[in-house]
Homo-oligomer: 253 residues x 6
Amino acid sequence: MSGEQRPMRILYQIPGHMTAGPLGAAEIDRRRRLLQDWSGPDTVIDVADSPGGPLSIESTAEEFTCVPPMLAALRGRAQPADAVIVGCFGDPGVAALREVLDCPVIGPFEASLLTGAQLGARVGVVTILDSVIPMLDRLVLSMGLSLRYAGATAIDIPVLELKKDPSEVAKRVAEAGTTLIARRDADVIVLGCMSLAFLGVAEKVAPQVGIPVINPAKCALKAAESVVAQGLLQSRRTYAKPRKEIMTVEEAR
Amino acid sequence: MSGEQRPMRILYQIPGHMTAGPLGAAEIDRRRRLLQDWSGPDTVIDVADSPGGPLSIESTAEEFTCVPPMLAALRGRAQPADAVIVGCFGDPGVAALREVLDCPVIGPFEASLLTGAQLGARVGVVTILDSVIPMLDRLVLSMGLSLRYAGATAIDIPVLELKKDPSEVAKRVAEAGTTLIARRDADVIVLGCMSLAFLGVAEKVAPQVGIPVINPAKCALKAAESVVAQGLLQSRRTYAKPRKEIMTVEEAR
Amino acid sequence: MSGEQRPMRILYQIPGHMTAGPLGAAEIDRRRRLLQDWSGPDTVIDVADSPGGPLSIESTAEEFTCVPPMLAALRGRAQPADAVIVGCFGDPGVAALREVLDCPVIGPFEASLLTGAQLGARVGVVTILDSVIPMLDRLVLSMGLSLRYAGATAIDIPVLELKKDPSEVAKRVAEAGTTLIARRDADVIVLGCMSLAFLGVAEKVAPQVGIPVINPAKCALKAAESVVAQGLLQSRRTYAKPRKEIMTVEEAR
Amino acid sequence: MSGEQRPMRILYQIPGHMTAGPLGAAEIDRRRRLLQDWSGPDTVIDVADSPGGPLSIESTAEEFTCVPPMLAALRGRAQPADAVIVGCFGDPGVAALREVLDCPVIGPFEASLLTGAQLGARVGVVTILDSVIPMLDRLVLSMGLSLRYAGATAIDIPVLELKKDPSEVAKRVAEAGTTLIARRDADVIVLGCMSLAFLGVAEKVAPQVGIPVINPAKCALKAAESVVAQGLLQSRRTYAKPRKEIMTVEEAR
Amino acid sequence: MSGEQRPMRILYQIPGHMTAGPLGAAEIDRRRRLLQDWSGPDTVIDVADSPGGPLSIESTAEEFTCVPPMLAALRGRAQPADAVIVGCFGDPGVAALREVLDCPVIGPFEASLLTGAQLGARVGVVTILDSVIPMLDRLVLSMGLSLRYAGATAIDIPVLELKKDPSEVAKRVAEAGTTLIARRDADVIVLGCMSLAFLGVAEKVAPQVGIPVINPAKCALKAAESVVAQGLLQSRRTYAKPRKEIMTVEEAR
Amino acid sequence: MSGEQRPMRILYQIPGHMTAGPLGAAEIDRRRRLLQDWSGPDTVIDVADSPGGPLSIESTAEEFTCVPPMLAALRGRAQPADAVIVGCFGDPGVAALREVLDCPVIGPFEASLLTGAQLGARVGVVTILDSVIPMLDRLVLSMGLSLRYAGATAIDIPVLELKKDPSEVAKRVAEAGTTLIARRDADVIVLGCMSLAFLGVAEKVAPQVGIPVINPAKCALKAAESVVAQGLLQSRRTYAKPRKEIMTVEEAR
C-alpha cells in the first residue's frame, strides 16, 4: 500500500452497552488502544458499544438480545467502516449484519476456528462458563466444521469478574487447555471470550500448554484487515440484502 | 387422560407485531381457530404476537430483530403455557427461549424436519423467497441433519402477498415441490413459511407432488402436544437457565 | 377433533411371541392398559404379538428373525390400524413395514432419538446388554444423526430378568445415565429397551440424572398419534409398495 | 500356500428359494461354476439356496423375509464353510450372520463399495429397480460412506426378467452408468444386483462407460478369499455371539 | 506496529523450477512485485523457485515430485522467513513443511477455502484442468470441509498456455463460475491455480459472476501476514518436528 | 484360474532406500519370502526399494521425500507388475502412482482400514510414534471414513529399533490395542507400520486383545491379488494419466 491511500477503518462493535456498565468508557478506550496496537500501520480502529444491549453475554438469550441494539447502533453511525468486527465470541448476529451492511463482517469465533484449522488438526476452546458451550458447539455444527473441533471447556468465571484476579484466570485457562489436550486431543486452543482476549492471557498461557493459543480479538482484527485488503465482500447469494428497510410497525408509520 | 385433567395450554407466539400490521387481530384469531381445530380435545390454544417485532420475517436480520420483542412479550404474559411454539418457520430464538422458559419450546422447522425424517430419506423445503434459503440451510447444518436434507426452493412471493392469490401460491408450491423431487431427490416436502401453513396449501398440493407435504404449523402443534404429554422439558445441560434475570443496563437500574 | 369422529386406532405390534412366553397374555394386556393410559382421549390402543417370533430380542440375529412373523401377523390381522408401532427398541423391520402397510409405521428408537434432538444437543441411550449397542449405533448411522448421538451404555440385565428387581434396574439405569453424561456429554437419555419402557423407570430416574429421560413406548405412541393427526403417510419414493404380493415359493403355489 | 493345505471352502448362500423357482437348480449350478472359475486354485465353492425364502428380492420387505430362511439353511448345513457370502446385493442379514456364524461373512454391496473406494473418489451403483435404491442409500449411510457415494440408478427390469434379453440389459446398464457419470460424478460403477453379476455384464459395459465396473459376485468372492487367507474373523465387540441358541417359542419347547 | 520494527519477511516458494522454464526469472520477479504491491507496508516479499522441481503442476504425481526440491531449496536458503507460502494451489507438501520449518506455512488452497467460508455458505473452485479436480476434492475431504464445498470446474487450459490469451482465460473463468453457481449452488468462487492468480483475472471476473472471487495468491499472502502478526506457529502436536535431520542414505554418509 | 495362465506378479515397492541401510538386502529378501508365503499359488512376489529414498519414514516430511525416488525406481523397472503395493503404512504417493502406472496400486493403510470396516464398527490403529498419528488421521479424513475410525495410539519405538526387542514390541502393541478398546471403542485393530507387519506381531497380539488385528502387509497383498483377479484398474476420472511424461527441467532438456 502506498502512503497516500486512505487508512482502513475497522469498527469493533461491542454488542453490549458497555459505557453504561461497570467497565464503562474507559474499557472501550482500553480495547481500542490494544486493537490499534495490534493493527497494521494503515488501520484506524473504532470501538463502539450498543446502547440497550446487555451488560454481558453469557447465554443464548443474551446473544439474541444484543442483536437489535447492535443493528440500531450500526444504522445510526455516521462514520463508515471498511469492516465490522462483532465484539462477542459467540458471533451474535454476524449473519444478520452481513445481510444489512455493505462491508465485510467478522465473527471472532468463526475467524479463530478457521485460523486454528490452519495450525493444527483439532481446535478446542477455553471459555468462561459451561452455559455458553452448547452455543459454541452449535456454531461449529452450523459451520460444518465438527471434524476439526475438539470441544470447549469452561474456567467457571463470569465475564464481569474476569478482571478481579487475572493470574487466577491465566492459571485456570492453562488448566483447561491442558484438559482439552489430554481428553479431547486438542491441537490448538482458542480463547473463548472477548474479555479474556483483552487480558493478555493468550500470550501468558501458550508456553504452558505447549500448543498455539489464539487470541480471538487479534485474530478477528487480522481477518478483517485481510478481507478488506483483498477487496472482498460477503456473497449476496448467502447474505442477500433485505428487500425492505423498515423493520417494525413503529418504523413503518 | 381422564376427563378431570386440566387442559394442556399451548401458546403459539408470533414473533412479529401482527396486530399492528395489515392482517391485524383477525388473522391472529383465524390462526388460533385453525390451530384449535387441529389440536387434541384437551388442548387449549393461545396465539399472541410480539409488539415491537417486524411485520414479516424474510431475512436473517429480521430473524434476529424479532427475538427481543418475543422475549419481552413472553415475560410479560400472565397466562402460563405448557408449551410454546415459535410462530416463524426459521425458528428464531428457539434456543434462547429454551433457556429462559420453564416449558418446552417448539420450532416449526426443527419439528417438521424431524417428522419428515420419519417419513422418507430426504426432506426438502418449499419456501417463499430465495433470501431465506441460506438461513434454512444453516439451521439444517446446526441440527447435524445435512445427510437427510434435500435443500430448499422458493416460490418467489413475499409473505405479505401470499393471501392475494392462493391458487397461484398452490400452483407454485406444487411446481417447486416437483422440482425438488426431480433435481434434489426429495422424498418429503415441508412448507417453509408459517403463512403458507395457514393457507391450506399442504393438503391441496400433496396429491399433486405425490409425496408427503408437511404443514409446519400442524406439525409444530403435534410436537408440542407430544412433548407435553410425555412430561418432557429441554435439557438444562444444553439450555442452561441464564444466571441473571436482568439483561440490559436499563433493566439493571 | 369433534366428538363424533371415529377414534384413532394405534396398533402396538410386539415382534416376539409374547403370549407363548413366560410373561404371557397378561403382560400384553398390562402394556395395552399403560399405552391406553398414556394415549389421547380419542385413541384406542391394540397390542398384538407375533406368533413364531423370538421370546426376546437381544441380538441382530433376533432382530431379523422377528420380522417375518411380524409381517405375517400384520397381514393376518382383521382389525385395521391407523398407525403401527413396532414394539422393539431396535426398530426391526420398520422400513419393511413402511413398504407393505398403508398406514404410518413408528420405530421407537427413531422416534425417541428425533424427539431427544429437540430437547438437547446430544442424545444417549441406556440399554440392557452390550450386545445390542452396535445395532443401535448402526441405526444412528443409517439415520444420518451421528453428530447428535452420545452413544449407548448397557445395564447388563437381560430382557427376561428385568422384572425380577425393578429397583436394581432403576439404580443401574441412573448409574448408566450418569456415566453417559460424564464420559459422553449426553444431554438427553433414551431408555433403550421396550421392557424398560413399561417398568416406569424413566419417571424414577429423570430427577436423579438431572436431564430428560425419554420413555420410548410413550414417545412412539405420541409420534404415532402425531403423524395420524397430521394425515401423513410414509413417502412412496423411499418406501415403495412391493410390486408383488406373494413372497415365497410356497405362497406362489 | 503349499499344496497339501486343505482347500478353502466358500459358501455362496442365496437368500431366496431358487431351486423352487423358475431358474431352478440349473441356475444354482451355473452360478457355482462361474464362481469356481473366478476363484483361486485352492478354493472350493459351494452354492446353496434358502428354502422358504422369496423368489426374488426387490424390496426391503423381501430383504427381511429372506433372513430367517437363510439362517435356518445355514444352521442345518452339514458341510462347514471358511466364509459365507450372502448372495444378494442388499446384504440382507449380514450383521445377523456375523453374530451367529464362526466364519467371516461377506456382503457383496459392502465389499464392492469398499473395493470401489480404492479405485476412485465416488462410487455409483447401477441396479434393477427404483424400489431398491432407498435400501442401498440406507446401507451407505449405515456404513458411514456417504462422502464416497455417487448414488444409484435403476435400469427398470425386474430380477426374474433379466435373462430374457441380456443385450438390452447391457445397453441399459451402460446408459445408466453414463448417467451416473454425467449427473453424479461417479468415478466407479458397481453392478447393483447379483443376477446382473452372473450375466457377464460388467465385462461388456466397462469399456463403454470408460470407468471401472465392479461385478459384485466376483468382488465378494475375492473379499471372502482375502479375509480367510488373512485368518480374520468379525469382531465380537461389534458382532457378539447371541447368548441363547433358541430363538423361537417353538424351539424352546 | 511501530516504525523501528524489523519488517516481516514472507517467502513465496514456487515448488517448480521456474527460472529454468519458459517463463524464467522475469516471471519470478513479476510475481514478487505483484505480491509486494499487495502486501502491507512492513512486509518484504521474497520469491524463490525450487531447482529440480517440475515445470508445471497439473497432476498428483507432479504435486509429489515438487516437494523434495522445495524442501531442499528451503533448507539451502540463507535468508530466513517469517512465513512461507507454498506457491501452488494444490498445497503440495504443506504438512511436510509445517513439520520441518520453524515458521508458519500457508497453503493457498486451504487459506482460500477458509476465507471463502467466511463470505458464503458454499465455496467453489475454478481451476485449469479436469485432472487436478480430484486432488482438490481430496484436499477438501482431508480438511473436513465437504459440507462447505461446491466442487470445482475446469477451464481446460494448461498452466503454460494461460498467458497466451488472457481475455479468453477470463471469459472461460466467468463461464465456469456461472456454471458452479447454477449447477452447484456456489456462493463464493476461488481461482484454482496460482498462474491464474497472477493474471488479474479475479478482479475482472468478479463483477460478471456476481459473487466474491478469491485470488489465492493475495489470500495466501494475507493469511501469512495475519498469522505472523498474531505470533502464531503451527501446533507441534499436529506437525511434530522430525526426530532426525538426515533423510536419505546419501545424506547419512 | 487354469494352470497354464501366467502368474500374477505383485511388486512390493519399498519407498525407502533399504538396501543402503542397516537392514540391507537381507531384509528385502526376508520380506519377499514372507509375502510369497502369504500369497496365492499363482502369485509371484517382487520386492524392490527406492534408491535415494529415506531410511525410515516417521514424519510427513519423509512421506513426501520418498515419493520421487519411488516414482524413479518404478519408471526404471524392466519387469512389469500386475499390481504395485506401496510398502509404507502412510500410503505415500499412492494417488500419484495411480495416475502414472497402468496397473492397480494398493496402499496398505487404505486396504487395511477398508478391510477392517468389514469386520467391525470402528477401526483403530496401533502405530510406532506419536509423530505419524496426525498423518494417519488426515488419511482417514481424506478417505471420508471418520465415522468408522477409532483413532491411533503409538508404542513409542522408532522403526529402526523395532527388531531389537520383538517381545517388548508385542507387549506394547497389546497394551496400545487394549487402550484403543477401552478409551476409543475400537472394534478392530490395524498394525500401523510395515516393519511391525513383518515381525509376526499381529498373530501374537490378536488373542490378547480379543479383537481382530490386521497385518497391513498381508492385507495389502490380498487386496492386490483381489483387484488383479477382478481385472480392475483405478478410475481415470479420479486418477487421470498425466498429460506430459517429462517432469523436471533436467528431463525436458
